[in-house]
Every structure is written in C-alpha cells, then in structure tokens.
C-alpha cells in the first residue's frame, strides 16, 4: 500500500531557471499538500496536464526526490528513513530512465535482477516469463541500440518488473508507445492489479485513465482537486465523462479559459 499524507515538494530556483521560467519567485512549489492512498489490487491514476505535479509526486513516492514536507510510506516503509527498503518493493518507470545501448536485453535484465539479489533460478524463470509476454525472446541477444523504440520501452518495463515488485509506479506508461505496445502495457497493468499489486500511474490521457484506473485523482497546480472512482468524480462534478469533469474542475480554477 502507498500512503501519501500532505506531501509538499518545493524547489529553489537558480537565477538561470528564474529567467527561463520568467518568474521573480525564488521558490517554486511543485506539489502542495497532496494526500492519497493506493491500495493493493487497484490501479490508482494521477490525471493532469503537464506541470501539474504528477511526475514530482511519483518521484517522491519512488524515493528519487526528497519531500519538502509531509509523509509517504510504501508497504509500511518510510521513503525518507528507509529509502532502500522502499526501492526493494517498487518498480518505477519513466521515460527518463534509459538502458545502456551497448548491452543485450538478456545481460541487462540479469544485471538489474542481480542488483535485487535474485538467485539464478528465479532470474531465469521471471526473465523467460516477461520476455515471452512482451515479445522480446527473439531479440534477447541483440544489442539494445539495435532494437526499435517500442522494443526498448518494453525492455525498460521488463527491467523494472524483474524483481516482481509489490508496487508498480509508471509515469505516463503509454507515452511514445505504438498502439500495439500500448495495449500490451495496459493489459499487463490490469494483470498486475489482478495479482494484487499496487499500481499507480500518471497520465494526461483522459481515455486511458477512464478505462484503466479504479480510482483517479485530478491534479492541477500541484494539488489534488478531486479524487475518487470514475463514478464518484462524475457525480461530484455532474458531468457525463471524465474529460468533461476534468475541464469543469479546470475552468473553476481558470475562469478566463
């Protein structure tokens, strides 16, 4: 389970970044008072436009960023005091995480599996299973640099899941994927949910959130404005679908739109 309580994350801006962002504020608050719970056996989605604070929230949950305020626990472990313990339980995947193009998929998966202290038998079993599911088996001995973009992304997913984590956090899981691969990924996320894993995704794609997520939190300007099941959100906003509901929340905050 993931429990996020009143998460705050702010950054100090350098002069260069202040100029780039055209602001005079030295501190930028990326996430402000975010709280949510993601439970085993469900897919929890953070929905929002670029810059809403989704990725920052997920990075804090994944221990890659230190929260400025608030508390986060993953499978009962605190992200700050036991970051290594948290990392053992999670799979975190984002477009920014890349694999060395010189190595083969076979070696790369072995390498990461061994960093999770997996034994040879478990590595082979899990690797075969994932390679088979994502269609990598025939490419396992090719260099990653020779693979297609879609195949590389599928391999990144395999790498992140090799240790059979309890918690799966995917930042924009279908970004840049072709429709076949995207479908494969979303199906796998459902499969993980069915296995009782905690699955958290961030997305700006309404359709994906609507079809995939059991509970959704709409994030705007670093805050969760509304959250619940799709039905609860539609009832609360009085709209027919998620897109309409999102824009209602958005317009409430930006009346000039």
């Amino acid at each position: 389970m993931i429990e996020v309580k009143n998460l705050v994350k702010s950054y100090k801006l350098s002069k260069k970044k202040m100029q780039k962002a055209k602001t005079k504020e030295k501190i930028v608050v990326a996430v402000n008072g975010v709280s949510f719970v993601a439970k085993p056996g469900e897919i929890f989605g953070l929905l929002g436009p670029n810059g809403a604070g989704k990725t920052t929230t997920l990075r804090c949950v994944s221990t890659l960023l230190k929260p400025t305020g608030g508390e986060i626990s993953v499978m009962g472990k605190d992200v700050e005091s036991d970051s290594e313990g948290v990392r053992k339980h999670i799979a975190f995947l984002t477009n920014e995480l890349k694999l060395d193009k010189h190595f083969t998929p076979d070696y790369t998966v072995d390498f990461f599996a061994r960093l999770y202290n997996m034994d040879r038998e478990s590595i082979n079993k899990r690797k075969e299973e994932l390679f088979e599911y994502f269609g990598i088996t025939n490419y396992r001995q090719k260099k990653i640099g020779e693979l297609s973009t879609g195949m590389m992304q599928k391999l990144s997913i395999v790498v992140s899941l090799i240790h059979d984590p309890d918690v799966v956090i995917f930042d924009e899981p279908t970004n840049g994927l072709d429709i076949v691969t995207a479908k494969k990924v979303t199906e796998y996320l459902r499969e993980l949910r069915n296995q009782g894993k905690v699955v958290v995704i961030s997305t700006h794609i309404m359709d994906l959130a609507e079809k995939l997520c059991d509970r959704i939190a709409i994030m705007l300007d670093g805050e969760i404005k509304i959250h619940g099941t799709l039905q609860q959100i539609l009832e609360e906003t009085g709209e027919k679908d998620l897109e309409e509901a999102f824009f209602k929340v958005y317009k409430d905050l930006n009346p000039e739109m």
Partner: protein, 410 residues
Amino acid sequence: MNQSLKVIINKELKRVFTDKRLILTLFVLPAVSLALIYSIIGYIAVEFMQDVKTHESTYVISNAPAAFVEIVDQIEDKAIRVEFIDNAAIEDYKTEIIEGTLDMFVAFDPSFVDKVTDYESGEMPTIMTYYNYGEDYSEEAYQYFVNRLLPVLEYDVLSSRFGNMDYLEVYNLIDGSEIEEVVNKEKATGKMISSILPMIISIFLFAGAMSVVMESVAGEKERGTMATLLVTPVKREFIAMGKMISLSIISTLTALSSLVGIAGTLGLLMLILPKDSGAGLGSLLTIKYTGAHVLQLMIFMLCLVGIYVGVIILLSAIAKTVKEAGTYITPVYMVVMVLSFMNMYSFNVEPLWKYAIPVYGQIIGIKEIFMYQMDWAKVGLSTLSGVVLIAILVAIIAKLFNSEKIIFTE
C-alpha cells in the same frame, strides 16, 4: 565482496572489454600511437642533429695568418670548405650568408701577426665573425670555428709566446669520486628516468582516468542510464565504490598502455638509430629494480589512480553532460600537470611530511623509487594519506548519488 558491488564492477568492466572500439581507443591506440609518434620524432631529431654535424661547413676567411691556414689544412674531424681571401669585406658575402650558401665569414685583423707578436704594447688584434644564427648549419660552423679552430691557434700563439705551454697549467684537477667510490651509482643511473617517468605516470594516469570516467559518469547521466541504476535498492556507497574500483582498473590499464608505448619508443629508437648516435639510450638497460620497488610503484600508482578517478567521478557527477564535465575537469588536469612537473628537477631526499600530501606525496614517492631512496615509512605515510582521501571522496560521491540534483539532469 558484496554482491551488488561485484555486479556493478563486472558491468563496468564488461562495458569496456566487450566494446572493440573502446578497447582500441583505450588500450591499443595509446601504446601504438605513442610508440610511433615519439619514435618518429626521436628519429627525426637525431637525424637532424647528425645532419647538422656532418654538413660541410663553408667559410670565407679574410687575411688569415699563415698559422691558421696551416691549422685548417690539418683538420680531419669535420668536413669544411674554406676560401682564404685577402682584404675581403663582409658586404660582398652578406647575401650568401642570409641565403645559406655560405655559413660564415671571418675577418682577421690585417695586422694580426704584428699585434700578436707585439703583444706587450697592449693592442689586441681583432677577429670579426659574421654568421646567421637563425640557420643551424651557420650556427654549427660558428661553434666549430670558435670552439675547435681558434683554440688551436690560441694554443700555438701562447706556446710561442711563453716557450712552454706547461707554464700555463696552474693546477691538476683530478676527479676521485670513482676511485673512492663516493658515487651513488644507482641514483645517478636512475636520475634520468626519475626526472621524467613520475611526471609521465601521473599525467597518463589522469588522462586515462579522464577519458573513461567522464563517459561512465557524466555520460551515463546524460543518457539517463544512471537514473535507472539509482532506482534500484543498491546502497549508493556500493555504486560509488563499484565505479571507483572498476574505473581505476580501466584507467590503470590505459596508463600502462601509454607507458608500454613509451617503452616501445625506447626499443624502436634503439633499433632504428645508429649505435654511435649518442642518444644514450643504452644506459637505461643497466637499471635494475627489485620486486619491492615494483610493489612500491604499484602502491603509489593505485593511490594516484584512486584519487584521480575519485575527483573525476565527483566532478562528472555534478556535471549534467560530458561536455560540462570536461570544463570542470580541465583545470584540475592543469593542477595535476603542475604538481607532476614540479618534481622533475628536484633530486634531493624530501622530508617525511611531504609524503602526507595527497598526489604530491605519491609523485615524489615514485620519483624516489626510481632513485633507489624510498623506504617503507614513506610508502606507509603516503598510502595512508591517499587512502584517507579516497575514502572521503567515496563518501562524498555516495552522498552526491543520493542527491536529486544528481539523479535528474533537469
């Protein structure tokens, strides 16, 4: 050894040793290119010096006294061509000297013999020399005239003036160093390489580390592969140590490749140069070091490479790109070069405390090994200072790998 540490070291080594391009550029090219480049430079330099020495120097000498003409006639050790002319003027030969068709013009005082004979009057005869010191042949002709021909004339004049040249001898200077065995022959022999090798080793170690480490740390950050590693539960200390150990091994091998290149240069020069070329390379073959010397050298090299790799990892971790890392590391490279050059011309035994200065201590340590004056106390102190600095660097790098600014470049 910890499993994660072992896995990271293996991966870093595999990254290099399974890449033909990297093997070629890191281990083969330095040895081959250095051996070839320095051999060609050395060969050309020696050939050039020999060409100047064997060149037939041409002189026009005005109003030469008969005694001097006779001296020139008896010259056998160098090919010279001399034209003796009475009352010649420099104006007539200026162009030839500038163009290099004539090496030197000399004008003896027309009353040279009279003034030499009547030396008690105090009036000294003049010998005017004209040569183009921008031309090597002309410079050589001048040196030969002044240092080889004129001393013979001077000897003749003084002999006839005093009747016996022995009167000019004031004392007998005898070098008894060899007889009484006061020479530290090993140190004397090692001096030649101790002035150059510590500097070369230090610079090659840094250069070798620079190329590999920047790519492995800043390059990994730039390509996003570092973040993938940092998402795993591996302790940052193990990532830092894994990088340090593997990159130190690779950097040492790169530096050794360069040293092999230098050794190859000596070998090639000995093969291609004539034995009487005077390059003095044969004396290097008489140098003998023991296993203890090799062990001491390895200890110092490991300390140096550890420090260099640590500093470069640290700066590469701060940088967002390989290019940015290069701008941070270049000034450090300059400092290392200065520290390395500082020791080139000092051959005295350094006080013990200097061995506690990281980098400087290791460089003077290597120098003293080559001069056979290293002892284990110095090795111990220098190693201790090196290990302490390396431990501090590992701790800082591990802390950096935990920093969000280091994990993500944006």
